[in-house]
């Protein structure tokens, strides 16, 4: 048994782990604003009206709140970025005074009277919209009823923000690294609570409590501790005929030998972490389970060995498949890798159902972030899944995680 594969991967990651420079939040916001302005100019858009939370965060620096969708929509901040202006407008109730924004009262675009207010602000700031190219990411029903954007030539603001955030600045990378390391620290502190007889909610509660103690700003997802079936047919029925994950349903009690897939994400200054590991409850992994982990490590090393600017998503997929005996080592409804930033999953997406042609056109570039999440599945034995975050550099990549190990695997 080769017990050193995990150590080899850990060493490989550690060699490419650099200290992060201190985060300068003001510089980060100014650089993002410049990128949004550049995209407005490139796409010929005169103004971008942003409602979707992560887009508002990107454009303004507004803090993320760990609230559910109903609270996030009703009390939503709204950003308005006008081409050529030196700072964005932020329509919100309370605004951090350190943000360099033009603060306006909250708009409440979910409500009819709020949509009317929003139309007035647009008129004041942008002027008459008729014939003007205005980007928006989402229009609420109230905005449609009020005709807030009537007459405008409407563009998709997700393309503006999406292009701006495809590569990250050093400050953004440091935010992701900070979120990831805090997420890892909280998981390290509570892994022992995942024992025989414990429920998912007990373990999740311990994790959420630890996040508060560590000073994390917001939790972004109900932390997943999902006991996995050993065979696909023993799990839920899926549209892809593969294993269902993450379902986020129910509160299972852990039993000895359960393989538990762990996934969580927290926020730091608007940026998400993405923690993934596989735990085994109450005992050490057996030989077959260790082989899953070893194959996972092989796939990780194979992908990281080819990763550098200019290689395509297709190249990464082929490296992963070759290291897994020709089989695709990832979940078909997801990806081999995804970006992370103000969204927990964003471009670049690698290995999705956008297809091989898309992957072959997607060239890696410095500043792109990849969350690699291969999955090794051996029907009857079960699966191993974990995640590591790397950033593409001028000559290769660097590790953004803090070197969290893979217990009980090694």
């Amino acid at each position: 048994m080769n017990g050193g594969v995990g150590e080899d991967l850990a060493r490989f990651l550690a060699e490419r782990r650099t200290d992060m420079a201190p985060i300068d939040a003001g510089r980060m916001r100014r650089e993002r604003h410049a990128r949004v302005q550049a995209e407005l100019a490139r796409q010929g858009v005169e103004a971008a009206l942003l409602l979707h939370g992560p887009n508002v965060v990107y454009a303004t620096g507004e803090a993320v709140r760990g609230v559910d969708v109903s609270h996030a929509t009703f009390e939503r901040p709204v950003a308005l970025v006008v081409a050529g202006e030196d700072r964005p407008h932020l329509l919100a109730g309370h605004v951090d005074p350190t943000l360099d924004v033009e603060h306006r009262p909250a708009a409440w675009p979910e409500l009819d009277e709020g949509a009317a207010d929003l139309a007035r602000v647009l008129g004041d700031v942008v002027g008459p919209l008729a014939g003007r190219r205005v980007a928006v990411d989402e229009q609420t029903g109230a905005m449609l009823r009020a005709g807030v954007l009537d007459g405008a030539d409407i563009a998709d603001a997700s393309h503006v923000v999406g292009a701006a955030k495809l590569t990250k600045t050093d400050d953004e990378l440091a935010c992701i690294a900070q979120a990831q390391r805090r997420n890892e620290e909280a998981m390290a502190a509570i892994q022992a609570t995942a024992r025989v007889g414990a429920t998912r909610s007990e373990v999740a509660g311990a994790f959420l409590a630890r996040l508060v103690e560590l000073g994390a700003e917001a939790n972004l997802i109900d932390p997943i501790f999902q006991p996995m079936p050993r065979t696909v047919i023993d799990g839920p029925r899926t549209t892809t005929r593969t294993v269902a994950f993450p379902t986020g349903v129910g509160d299972p009690t852990f039993g000895e030998g359960d393989i538990v897939w762990v996934d969580s994400g927290i926020d730091h200054l608007g940026y998400a972490s993405d923690f993934g590991r596989t735990w085994v409850i109450g005992r050490d992994p057996n030989a077959a389970e260790r082989r899953l982990f070893e194959r996972w490590c092989d796939v990780m090393v194979a992908v990281l060995e080819v990763l550098k600017p200019g290689v395509t998503g297709g190249d990464l997929c082929r490296a992963a498949e070759a290291a897994n005996g020709g089989d695709r080592p990832w979940l078909p409804h997801f990806y081999l890798a995804h970006g992370v930033g103000v969204e927990s999953a964003e471009m670049p997406l690698v290995g999705t159902d956008l297809g091989p042609e898309f992957d072959d056109r997607l060239a890696m570039a410095p500043g792109m972030v990849l969350v690699l999440e291969p999955v090794i599945w051996d029907d009857g034995v079960g699966g191993y899944r974990a995640e590591e975050i790397v950033a593409v550099t001028e000559d290769g990549w660097r590790h953004l995680g803090g070197g969290h190990p893979y217990p009980p695997f090694a």
Binding site: G66, V67, D68, S70, Q139, A204, T239, T247
Partner: protein, 334 residues
Amino acid sequence: MTAPTPTTEDAELRSARRDRVFDAMATAGLDVLVLGRRDSVAYATGVRSLWTAGTRPFGPACVLVEAARSIHLLSSWDEGVPPEVPFEHLYGVTWNGAILAGALAAIPGLATATRVGVEALSPGFERMARRLAAAAELVPADDLMRAVRALKLPAEVARIRASVTVADAAMEVAGVALPGGGGPAAARVAALEAAARRGVTVPTSGVVVWPAGPADGARFHVDVGFLVDGYEGGLGRTLPGADDDAPVMAAQRRLVDACRPGATAADLRRAVPTGVTRWRVRGSGMGFEAPVVTDALGRGEVIEEHMVLSVELELDGTRRRDLVAVGSDATEAL
């Protein structure tokens, strides 16, 4: 401990909610309704899904067809999907707009629809919808869902009542932890752990603790909001309690009593006593809902029987938030 047992069978509650949505569609003349928000989808279908924070880009997470009273759902698996949604009505998560469009095009009744209700619109989905239902008028239907959801079924009130017990337990331990030296963080930890012991790890507004005043370092506003079995339980207090809570209790009672059927925003404003620095009345159910009434909002809103409201105000540095159910002749704190 686990979450409180629901007082009504899940299937009965799901069926009643579903019927209300389809009935509202029929009344509004909608052939198809496209929902995008997790809370609305949960209301209409009863599906349980992974909780994530914040907004999602608008997309067709659920398609309801009125003629067949059928539900089609974006889900890659049947875990958490109620039995009345057949597996064949699921379309899997996809990153590919062409695959999504193909799945939607296969839904019977969409291509021939003449009125399609949408909860919201993104530029991308608007283009797709105009191709898939070429003859259809796209109608904003957020107000339809809001109106249906605003009036609670008795079983929903029972669920909310059970959810409040979780929030109550969290508030109680926060009140014990707060003066213990650990401050706001200790209070939040205690509240989160108390909810988790009851099987609840999903916030609506979460556990928020902030100083009661700039000059008052000893007292904190504590607000708790959890999603329990699909419904929000929440309350707000100022801890430790003031020596004399009577004025804020009386003010809150006055505002709660004003929340009676037929009351307008102006009626509520008149009921807010002098000295109250902040107040808000809003719907509560599967989260933050309509109506929303404040000093600045709520023109045209009328309180109705069967609403459940979150009523909050602050007086002399003491804040209270309670969930209340509007009855025909009394409004009851839950």
